[in-house]
Amino acid sequence: MARCAVSELIPRGADGHVLQKLWVWSPETIEDIQTKAELGRYTNRALGTTRRTPHFQDLTFVPCTLSRVPLEGYRETCRTDIEIGGRHGARPIKLRTPITIAGMSYGALSRNAKAALGTAATRVGISTTTGDGGMLDLEREASDQLVYQVLPSRYGFNPHHLRMANAAEIVIGQGAKPGTGGVLLGAKVSPIIAEARTLPPGVDQRSPCRHPDFIGPDDLQIKIEELREATDGAIPIYVKIGACRVPDDVKLACKAGADVIVIDGLEGGTGASPDSLMDHTGIPTLAATCEAVNAIREMKLEGVVNLIVSGGIRNGVDAAKALALGADAVSIGTAAMIALNCNRPLYLEDYHRLGTEPGACHHCHTGLCPVGITTQDEDLIARLPIDEAADRVEGFLHSMTQEMQMFARACGKSAVHDLEPEDLRAMTIEASAITGIPLVGTNFAFRPESFAAAVVEAIAAAASTNGHVSPQGAHR
C-alpha cells in the first residue's frame, strides 16, 4: 500500500494550484468521447452498471429486542427450502435454499465455468440456467436441475435439450440491456462457438431484440402453449423480463400463463453490452422487486406465480432483504462468477495486458479472461479446474444461506420466507419512497399514499379540535 503525504491527497498541478475536474466533462467522459471518435460507434463492456443505484444496501433490518423474541442460531431450525413453478401442475423446481444461478451462456463462459457452477448447484440443491448458446452436455451432467433458456436468437436451441431440461425460461430481456439485441464482437466468436451458433467464425454477432416466432404478450400465451405441448406439460415455464414497466409486464406474464417470473434489474450483469445501455436502461432491482410483488398480489396470484429477482444481489443480506420484500428466490450471475475467481488478484500480467487490474476488470467481452471464466482459450480455461472452482461457489452459496438464516432468526423467524417488509427500515428517503418501508427514526413511508393519508388525518384531527390545523398535528 503506497504511502503519501496529506498534502498529496489533493491533486495539484506543477504550479501548485489545485487541479479541478469538471463534472460534465470528467476524465471518464473525455476518454469516452475520444474513444468513440476513433471507433466510429458506441463502446461495449461487460458486467454491469457503474451507477450507484437505490439498492438493498439502503435498507436495514430491525431484529428482535424487547418487543419480539429472537431464535438461537444453529439449534433452532430456520428453513430455507422452497418449491417453485407448480402453477400449471408441472414437476416443480426444488430449491434447498432460495438462490438460483442465472443464465449465462456457454460461449460467454468457458465449459469449465459452466461445469463448476452446475456441480456446486447440485451439491447445494439449487438450479442453474443455460444461456444464449444452448445446453452444454457438461452442464447437464453436472447440474441436477437445469433451466433451459429460450432466447430471441435461438442460438444452439435444440428441442431434445428442451425435453431434457427441468424447466424452460422464455427470455424477453435482461436487466443490463432491456429492449435490445446488441453486438458480440468477433473475438469471442471462435470456431467452436460459431458452429454452435450456426454463424461464420469471427463475425461481430448481432443478436435480435425480439423472438422470431412470437411478438406481443398475447402471442406469448400461444408460445407458452407450444412449449407445454413440446414438453408434455411436465416442466415449469419461466418468463424472464428486464425491469422496465414492471407492473404492466408482470401482469402480462401472469396472464400469458407463466409459472415463474424472473425480474432482472438495472444492476444485472452481461457478457457484453453497450456501456450506455447498461447505465441508462431499466430500473433498479430494489424498485423492480417491490413493483413485481405488488403486481402479482393485485392479480391475486401470490404463492401461485413464483417470483425470482436478480441484478446486483451480492450476498445473503441482499437476498434476505429481497425475500422480506416478497420475492420467492433470488438469482445470482455476477456474484457466482466472482466466487469462481472473477477479479481475483492472480495472473496479474494478464490483467495488465488487458489494460486493467483485478478489482476493476469488466473485460469479459475480449475473451481473454485471466482466470479462465469468460474465455474459450484452452490455456486460460486450464486455469479454472472444475472441482476447485465448484468448491468456491459451493462455499459462497453456503455463506449466503447462513446469512439469510442469521437475519431470519434475529427477526424471530423459523423460515427465511417468513421475513416481511415489517422487519425492515429504510435508511434513505428514496429507499423509503421506493419500497414503502418507513424511514429510520420515523413512522413514515415516503410514498404518495402516506402523504395523502397524513393530510386526511390532519384535516380530520383539525375538524375535531375546532378547525385548527397545527404544524404539530400534521406530523405523525
Partner: protein
C-alpha cells in the same frame, strides 16, 4: 394485447344475425385476453333518431336523472336498462357532444356509443360473460366488429375496453391490437384541434384520428392509408363506420390480422380459428394482411 374480429354483409340490403356471428368469433380468441370483451353492432339505421348506449354504475336516482336529461334534450322513444347498461332511442337534432355531456353530467355514467345504427356493448370478462350481462347474440344487423382484451398498460375496467366510440362522431368506432407509441403526441395534436378523449387508452386515438379525417371529407381509404404513416408502434385495427369496415396493419407487420371474403360476406380476425368458428367452407381462404396494408369493405 387482444383478439379482433369483424363481419360484414356486402349487399346493402342484407341484414342477418351479426350478434351471434360475433359471439362465435370472439369465443375461440379468448386466449388473447379475457380482461374484457366488446362489440360494436350496426342495426337498421333510423334517419330521424339516435340509439344511445351508456353504462350507469351508480344507483340512488342516477338512472332516473339520466332519463330526465335525455327527455330534456329530445324525444325518447325507447329506453331500457339491463343491470348497469342502458339503451335508449332519442329523436334529437343538436350537437352530439352536448348530448354526451348532458348524459354524463351525473357521476359514474359513461356513454358507450351514439349512432343512427351503431350500438356498443362491452364489459369485463369473456364473450359469454358479456352476453350474460347485456345480451347481444340475438342482434340482427348489417355489420359488426368485436374485441377480446388483455390489458397492457392501462386499467382493466369497462371504460378502457374496446370498441372505442369516436366521440362525438356518430356510428364510428375502433378495435385495436397493439400499442400506439406516439399516442401522447397525436392526442395533443387532436385535442388542439378541438377533439376530446374519454380515456387514457392509446387505442382511442385511432378512432378520433380516423373520424377527424372523415369529417374533413376524406375517404375511408385515404384516412386508413394516412394512419399507417402517422401512427407509430404496433397495430392491427378495425374501424367501423355507418357504411362498412376498414382495416389497417402496421408497416412492420407485428400484429396478426387475417381477412376472408366471398361475394356475400367479409370476415376479419386476428386468428383463423375465429373465422372457422363461423365458416368452415374450404373455398373461403383467409389471407394475412401485408405489412402496411389497408383494406375496406363498404355496403
Amino acid at each position: 394485447m387482444c383478439g379482433l374480429c369483424g363481419f360484414l354483409y356486402k349487399d346493402a340490403d342484407r341484414v342477418g344475425p351479426v350478434g351471434r356471428t360475433l359471439h362465435a368469433m370472439l369465443g375461440p380468441m379468448a386466449r388473447r385476453g379475457t380482461d374484457s370483451t366488446g362489440i360494436a353492432l350496426y342495426g337498421a339505421p333510423q334517419p330521424d333518431s339516435y340509439v344511445v348506449r351508456a353504462r350507469i354504475d351508480a344507483n340512488h336516482g342516477t338512472p332516473e336523472r339520466v332519463a330526465a336529461a335525455l327527455e330534456e334534450a329530445g324525444t325518447v322513444t325507447e329506453r331500457s336498462q339491463q343491470g348497469p347498461n342502458m339503451r335508449a332511442r332519442i329523436t334529437y337534432s343538436g350537437d352530439l357532444g352536448a348530448l354526451t355531456d348532458a348524459i354524463e353530467g351525473e357521476p359514474d355514467v359513461e356513454v358507450f356509443s351514439i349512432g343512427r345504427a351503431m350500438e356498443i356493448v362491452k364489459d369485463v370478462g369473456d364473450a359469454d360473460a358479456v352476453e350474460a350481462a347485456d345480451p347481444y347474440a340475438a342482434f340482427e344487423g348489417s355489420h359488426a366488429i368485436g374485441h377480446t382484451r388483455m390489458a397492457t398498460e392501462s386499467v382493466v375496467d369497462v371504460a378502457h375496453s374496446h370498441p372505442f366510440w369516436a366521440r362525438p362522431f356518430p356510428d364510428i368506432s375502433v378495435v385495436h391490437n397493439g400499442h400506439i407509441t406516439n399516442y401522447h403526441k397525436l392526442r395533443r395534436r387532436l385535442e388542439n384541434q378541438g377533439h376530446r378523449f374519454a380515456t387514457g387508452n392509446d387505442s382511442e386515438v385511432i378512432a378520433v384520428y380516423i373520424a377527424d379525417k372523415l369529417e374533413r371529407g376524406e375517404s375511408l381509404e385515404d384516412a386508413l392509408r394516412a394512419s399507417v404513416a402517422d401512427l407509430d408502434g404496433t397495430f392491427a385495427y378495425l374501424i367501423s363506420t355507418p357504411d362498412g369496415i376498414g382495416v389497417a396493419r402496421d408497416p412492420f407487420a407485428l400484429k396478426p390480422l387475417l381477412y376472408a371474403e366471398s361475394d356475400e360476406v367479409a370476415l376479419i380476425a386476428s386468428e383463423e380459428v375465429a373465422i372457422r368458428a363461423v365458416d368452415q367452407d374450404a373455398a373461403l381462404v383467409p389471407r394475412e394482411l401485408a405489412a402496411g396494408e389497408v383494406r375496406w369493405w363498404l355496403r
